[in-house]
Symmetry: C2
Subunit: 347 residues, 2 copies
DNA sequence: CGATAGTTTGGAACTGTTCCGGAAATAATC
DNA sequence: GATTATTTCCGGAACAGTTCCAAACTATCG
């Protein structure tokens, strides 16, 4: 049973080298390491800490250096809920900060005592997801779809819900519908934009590039968008915001400029939590229940780690469109409002 | 340098016993353990994993079974920020779920690879905080003050800010000021209530128990509070809400009943994040920057774990009162509004 | 070809943990 | 009060892994 010794014997090397290989030290010959890792896998080697029943946690893994914001909190909430049931803890972990380039992902996670990973926002670094999958480490990627069979992923598709939202606005009679979108879009974000375009095209409306505002996310983004759009010679009668924070900022800017929602402009926003119910008016939104992503991803990992063999995860759920109080028919008399509050007649 | 052996020799016991004592196993005589721990401390003993730079994480520890909500997310955000600097990961961990009764806290944390603990919401289980401190495990309790010198704690005191808030309302001319508070108050919460009472007393106003609404937190709490207060024969002209979620719910209920803020009623809320800027009108609030608690607590732990010897933490910071757009002079003509929307004349 | 520098490896020393059996203390029984 | 369990506590030894050091091997350059 003396595991490490067995490995050393099988791989015909000393225990010292086996130890180094298993821990990803730099000074082992790559071929030797490969051999050791192979033998370890064959023998089902587990480190002392892994042999304990409940040691290790599931990681919410982030690739780039960045803080912990609403979206993370929602994912985490779902993971914690699943953790109550499946008995695991959740660790927030940052790849860019701690992983040394010459250790593998498995080694990194092992060092950190992470047994399964939920990978978030890896749009710009898909290679990391691929590398982790290639090592066979249990992981689920959130937010994007992958075509490789060995990558488990989970996302919510906002395309149809976005189409429904725009259809809803068109049905109410809107023709000039603006889009406020991220200037640095994720794939997660792209289908909201696509939904907007498809709906307009399907209704035979032309896409006016002047009605599309690209904006970096931030507390002021919503206000800036409203400033731009209402200073136009002919402002839109409805706006679709693809981000919750931006939606809220915009609604408040409307209050400030005394632009009435939905009397002067109809608003559809995006909501990944329950913010839409906290504004006034409560805003119609394309909704995704982000915490469910967290819960499902980590629930799947828990089952996998417990030895059940769940089928690969490659699942796309639909966002839904929820009408609340922020949409109505287009105004009989449109208004134009400059950022300083001046109201102008429309020619 | 052979640390554990040295300890064993000094304490005149075997290494086996030393190991057991340091890991908090149950089967050592309390006096022996005491002696070993003392010697270990004197010699500045650190376990092998502690000697590594980056192993282990800091835990955000919760006592009772419950989910991961706004307050947790804010604490976590601060901890993650500190973690970027001090190079640690953050784990969410639940004591009630995983700790078996016959292991010590140190043992539990070690099993979980947690090197320092941020303890939140331990109002109803102060004995846990005491026990953890007694074991000498690095921990910081958030939200309550403790009198024992070996307990590190950090909290924000809302007393003065609450007094300032009520003073502000009194200065504006308000005399009937209502309080909406939790029905199950934490110590964290109590000083907000005390601030309210003190300010009124100091101004020579009597405390009208009819103006105090105790309410269980939840998405409907705010609406219920407004319903109650505005159905009174003489409604208040100003209201202080001691909880963010309740404040937001109340503001929206006011919109619904067409009670204008601040024209018909002045509102002061509580904010532990930045919600106050997301409502309309942006609400005046007693503000505490919860994430700073997380950042400071875990920063202190990081310094402690790194071997610096930071002075014990027993710090109370002041919340501050921020005036925004939700307060004004009392209305010339007060209104009374029933939950169904009926407006009644005031006798 | 030989000197030199850098890699890679094994032996041995080391760190800490755990199993097992036994001594000492405590409780139970006659 | 003596004897017999039972429990508590501890040490020796076996064990798991890690790391230091020196030796062996490889590559490079004059």
């Amino acid at each position: 049973m003396s595991s490490m010794r067995t490995i050393a014997a099988r791989a015909k090397i000393s225990m010292a080298t086996a130890s180094r290989a298993l821990n990803g030290h730099a000074e082992v010959d790559p071929r030797t390491r490969e051999r050791v890792l192979q033998v370890a896998q064959d023998l089902g080697y587990r480190t002392p800490s892994e042999r304990k029943v409940d040691a290790g946690s599931i990681g919410l893994v982030q690739a780039s250096r960045s803080g912990f914001y609403d979206y993370d909190a929602l994912l985490m909430r779902g993971m914690v809920e699943a953790g109550e049931q499946h008995r695991f803890d959740v660790t927030w972990i940052n790849l860019s900060r701690e992983k040394s380039p010459d250790e593998s992902y498995s080694q990194f996670f092992r060092r950190k005592n992470i047994r399964g990973a939920v990978l978030r926002s890896f749009g710009d670094s898909a290679h990391v997801v691929e590398a982790i999958a290639a090592e066979g480490f249990p992981a689920v990627a959130i937010g994007e779809r992958y075509d490789r069979a060995d990558i488990n992923w989970l996302r919510i598709n906002g395309l149809n819900a976005s189409r429904n939202a725009i259809d809803h606005l068109i049905a109410l009679g809107h023709r000039r519908i603006a889009l406020v979108r991220h200037s640095r879009p994720t794939a997660d974000h792209a289908d909201r934009v696509a939904g907007y375009e498809q709906a307009l095209r399907a209704a035979g409306l032309e896409l006016d590039p002047g009605l599309v505002v690209s904006i970096p996310v931030g507390p002021l983004a919503g206000a800036v968008a409203i400033n731009c759009l209402f200073a136009m010679p002919t402002p839109p009668t409805a706006i679709y915001f693809t981000d919750p924070e931006v939606t809220v900022g915009a609604i408040n800017r409307c209050h400030e400029l005394q632009i009435r929602i939905p009397d002067d402009v109809s608003v559809v926003g995006f909501d990944d939590g329950l913010v839409r119910r906290n504004t006034w008016p409560r805003y119609a939104a394309v909704c995704q229940e982000t915490w469910r992503l967290g819960a499902e991803a980590s629930g799947w990992l828990a089952r996998k780690l417990a030895g059940f063999n769940p089928p690969p995860l490659a699942s796309e759920q639909e966002a839904h469109f929820e009408v609340l109080q922020s949409t109505g028919v287009p105004p009989a008399r449109q208004i134009r409002v400059l950022p300083d509050g001046t109201r102008l007649q429309l020619e």
